[in-house]
Amino acid sequence: MAVVEVKELKKSFGPLEVLKRISFEVERNEVIAVIGPSGSGKSTMLRSLVHLEEVEGGTIAIQGENLVLNGQYAKAKHLKEITSKMGMVFQQFNLFPHLTVIQNLELAPKLVKQRAEEGYRKRAMDLLAKVGLSDKADVFPSKLSGGQKQRVAIARALMMNPEILLFDEPTSALDPELTGEVLDVMKELAKEHMTMIVVTHEMEFARDVADRVLFMDQGEIVEEGSPDELFGNPKKERTKAFLSRTMRNRSAE
């Protein structure tokens, strides 16, 4: 059974249709890259999975449970249960600036999961070690580089033991020399078979790490396939045009 099932998802901002009946599925342990030009609706699609955007129609099911069924949202409590299966990493990190790194990691589990406190400290330190920031536990986010902030944000999302991790352009706000350290952490997670949906402009990452790539344009999924198919032999004109545009920009850099 697919862990994420999306059917006929519809959303507009005023007269602009941002999602035009989008459907796709994500299997357990799959890494999905979502690529496409700015304004193609890929962030909106991702954000609607965790109810940061409200859709007008369609169905979203997470592990078989309906978050939205034909445009009808689940009841508040159930909705919270469903979205709690997902973690999210934002383009702008969204760390809590008034809390230290370790407090950022521990805040939500302490408030939400009501378990003994000692467990959190150990898990937080383990996750910081995993993202290579053990020495930054007691530092405030303002003292970190962008790449370090994003790694903390990933660790913070992992604290809640999500079944699925969503990334909304995780490296777009970073200086080019800092994207590598974040992508490395993500590759590590992919190796551990974390189910991930990654909205990204990093074509190399999509090609090397993703199991499947979705290409979105103007609120539609134009084409999807394995990285080899989509990058090596794109079938649709729009895909070809987008890829040649991005590849040309890349070589011009």
């Binding site: 934002f90 702008q92 408030l111 405030f140 003292k143």
Partner: protein, 219 residues
């Protein structure tokens, strides 16, 4: 100018300063929480509540504090029927005036602090599973107070100086005793002494807020 003279005028002036400081403390302790409640009211989804709070803030910020004090101390008792019940001790009446006025200013300061908090903070909290109350108390308010702190400090210093308005409603305070001494002794010295005492109070206040800002720097 002798030291003896300074000591004689200092005693009543320091007594006056007590009224000044007492008013300051009462006003700040009451108007900050009240201002915060007003901020919440302004942002309320219940339209009449938000509208009332807006109008209140507009009224309090749009008219002189001196006028408000005069209304409360001398005006209200003149109202027909209820007036007799509104004759308050002048110091108490003045405190109420300051609290009502400063609450409006603090409300605006806190509102600014809330607006300065990035939407991403709410989104991160939501995705991590925090409910509204947890988001407000653990994520939003600590940041709001930090952002508002310099403006709160500034407003507090203004409040110290505004206490001199007690003079106009005939509550004996620091400036009142200075003026009395100037008239009686025909010298400018008491004014300077008053200025020094105000400076001392505002200096202590400024140092306190600087300390608080350093403690809350998040670095």
């Amino acid at each position: 100018m002798s030291l003896d003279y300074l000591l004689t005028i200092l005693k009543p002036m320091l007594e006056g300063a007590q009224a000044t400081i007492l008013l300051f403390i009462i006003a700040i302790i009451a108007s900050i929480p009240l201002g915060f409640l007003l901020t919440l009211a302004v942002r309320s989804s219940i339209k009449p509540v938000a509208w009332l709070a807006h109008s209140y803030i507009y009224l309090m910020r749009g008219t002189p504090l001196l006028l408000q004090l005069l209304v409360i101390v001398f005006g209200l008792p003149l109202l027909p029927v209820v007036g007799d019940y509104l004759v308050l001790d002048r110091f108490v009446a003045a405190c109420i005036g300051f609290i009502l006025n400063y609450a409006a200013y603090f409300a605006e300061i806190f509102r600014g602090g809330l607006l300065a908090i990035d939407k991403g903070q709410y989104e991160a909290a939501q995705v991590l599973g925090l409910n509204r109350w947890q988001t407000t108390t653990k994520v939003v308010l600590p940041q709001m107070f930090r952002i508002a702190l310099p403006a709160v400090a500034n407003e507090s210093v203004t409040l110290v100086k505004d206490t001199a308005l007690l003079y106009a409603v005939a509550v004996p305070e620091l400036l009142h005793f200075a003026q009395t001494a100037v008239n009686r002794d025909f010298t400018i010295v008491p004014f300077f002494v008053a200025a020094l005492i105000y400076l001392l109070i505002t200096m202590v206040l400024t140092l306190f807020f600087k300390w608080l800002e350093r403690r809350m720097r998040f670095e």
